[in-house]
């Protein structure tokens, strides 16, 4: 706790608050107030037309009996499971690739990062050409005598396709996080291991991965939260279909709120998603802290 005596010349007790005032106002109006409304709504019945009516635990009771919530929950968890290896493991290899001391390596980093800065809507349009029934992917499949597959219209393929696209769009970001982490891997240890005859795979497992532990903590949390709240990709690619096969919690909240105008129930599902995200983040923190100690 900083000492309050010996205050610096020109600083008053209110100085920090004057600086923070705009930030606090935005915090109150755009975060705190909406958060309170969300909690309030989840205990209410509200369809925008009629006034808000307190409904106690009705929404949460409905939540327990709503089969679509369970479908959405299952899809969101499947999303996380498929998304994790694609964003926590694969980008590490990408990072090791672009960490090589080669000419024009910066250009490759840039190309791999490009999808990160483009809008999900544009990305979705581009991928619809790739995954078209007569597109490149189906052509490649046809070379092996497989397909054609309507990736976004088939209820077995739709969710993996959305996950793949979301992972592809974010891979560059995770790659850059690992790249930053790789700078902190002790190069003398790697060299020593090389001289001792450790092959690349052993160097990776015994030196690089342990050194990257703090980085894994970051990518793991980021990946889980990204996957849990996946919504925009679902909205622009499949709208939850076909047959609810890509119905994620995020999309379910949106459709309940802005298609059925069932704001109260949608908020209750929102709280569920919120709780899951906080539990996941907390669990992550716990696991990574313990390993550090």
């Amino acid at each position: 706790m900083p000492s309050l005596r010996g205050r610096v010349v020109g600083q008053h007790w209110y100085t920090p608050y004057v600086f923070m005032l705009p930030g606090l106002l935005f915090y109150a109006a755009m975060f705190a107030w909406p958060a309170v409304i969300a909690i309030q709504l989840s205990f209410s019945d509200y369809d925008i037309v009629h006034p808000v009516r307190f409904s106690g635990l009705d929404n949460f009771i409905q939540l327990g009996h709503d089969p679509r919530v369970w479908i959405a929950l299952r899809n969101s968890l499947l999303f996380v499971l498929m998304f994790l290896p694609l964003t926590v493991v694969a980008p590490l290899f990408l990072a090791m690739l672009v960490n090589l001391k080669l000419r024009a390596i910066q250009a490759f980093r840039m190309l791999y990062y490009l999808p990160v800065i483009t809008s999900m809507v544009a990305v979705a349009v581009a991928w619809r050409y790739v995954f078209n029934r007569e597109g490149v992917v189906n052509w490649l499949l046809s070379l092996f005598g497989a397909g054609p597959i309507d990736f976004l219209l088939d209820r077995h393929w739709a969710l993996p396709t959305v996950v793949l696209l979301e992972a592809w769009k974010n891979a560059g970001l995770f790659m850059m996080i690992y790249l930053a982490g790789l700078q902190s891997v002790p190069s003398d240890q790697v060299e020593a291991a090389t001289i001792d005859g450790a092959n690349a795979w052993r160097r990776l497992l015994h030196i690089v991965v342990p050194a990257l532990r703090p980085t894994f903590a970051v990518t793991l949390v980021l990946s889980m939260l990204e996957a849990m709240r996946a919504f925009e990709s679902v909205y622009v690619l499949t709208r939850g279909g076909p047959l609810d096969s890509t119905l994620t919690l995020g999309y379910y909240i949106w459709s309940k709120a802005f298609q059925d105008y069932d704001m109260g129930y949608a908020s209750a599902v929102g709280l569920l998603l919120w709780a899951i995200m906080i539990v996941l983040a907390g669990f992550n923190l716990l696991v990574t802290r313990r390993r550090d100690g």
Binding site: F19, L21, Q106, L111, Y112, V121, Y129, V130, I177, I253
Partner: protein, 282 residues
């Protein structure tokens, strides 16, 4: 330099060639979809967009579909709107973030840690979950379907405050004390000493802010009704509704929407790429 002159014959290292082949193959994976999109947008009408085997290179490239997309929907309007959204959001975002971060870094006061955690908690209030309550807040304030409604929620981010607090804390005390001795007040120290020193961080945040506002989609979709206020990303979604089966016009329209952000990225790529690591390493 001397080494390059010395090396008269280029040596071909098979391992190096293999690595470049791998790098290029991976690059194809990441930019392939964009190139296919560009191909679809520039192929003449006589050339099929799809087909086995894929015929991806336009012969010859034409601009017809760009013209068509440009006239199908009010593109200029959408682009201008997005420029307005970026032009207002990013400067306000930078100023508010800097003002908020400054005391958290450089003024000792009770509860500083609590305030910092408060602002970091924004991370756990993701936009997707705030759609409903924010929509209601906007109706309460009478702001639905206005530019302000799109801008206001984008002003505060935990990343901005986090990175600027870090930048401000790294400024050596001697510099600040010297200014104080010269009679500078707290705001003067902030504005004339600390903000210029934190310029690289501000630049990074400006770029990230630009990208995120340019690409924002869901919140404008919820809060806007009038097409005349749509940002470009919403315009593309609208085009894909209007254009329906016109795969060429849609491709061209999407390419147009990508151009500004790709240009900004190409110009500032070093800064963007270097920032990402720093942001996370913290």
């Amino acid at each position: 330099m001397a080494r390059r002159l010395y090396r008269s014959k280029p040596r071909i290292n098979p391992r190096r060639v293999g690595l470049y082949v791998l790098l290029i193959a991976v690059a194809a994976l990441f930019i392939g979809p964009f190139l296919i999109l560009l191909g679809a947008a520039t192929k003449p009408a006589s050339q099929d967009v799809f087909g086995f085997p894929p015929d991806l290179i336009p012969r010859p490239p034409v601009a017809d579909w760009f013209r068509e997309a440009w006239t199908t929907i009010p593109y200029a309007r959408f682009l201008v709107n997005s420029v307005i959204y970026v032009g207002i959001t990013v400067p306000v975002y930078l100023v508010v973030s800097a003002l908020t971060a400054y005391p958290l870094a450089r003024i000792a006061f009770r509860g500083r840690g609590v305030f910092f955690m408060l602002f970091l908690s924004i991370m756990f209030l993701p936009g997707e979950l705030m759609l409903i309550p924010r929509f209601l807040v906007m109706s309460e304030l009478g702001l639905t379907d206005t530019f302000a409604a799109v801008i206001l929620p984008a002003i505060l981010s935990s990343l901005g405050i986090f990175l600027l607090r870090q930048a401000f804390s790294q400024i050596p005390d001697e510099i600040v004390e010297a200014a104080r001795m010269d009679g500078a007040n707290e705001f003067g120290i902030f504005w004339r000493i600390c903000v210029p020193i934190a310029a690289p961080t501000l630049a990074v945040l400006a770029i990230l802010g630009f990208v995120s506002v340019w690409n924002s989609f869901i919140w404008p979709l919820v809060v806007l009704n009038s097409q005349s206020k749509f940002p470009i990303a919403l315009g593309i979604a609208y085009l894909s509704g209007v254009a329906g089966t016109d795969v060429r016009g849609l491709a061209a329209g999407t390419v147009i929407s990508l151009v500004p952000v790709v240009i900004v990225f190409l110009l500032l790529q070093k800064r963007i790429l270097n920032s990402m690591g720093g942001a996370v390493k913290g």
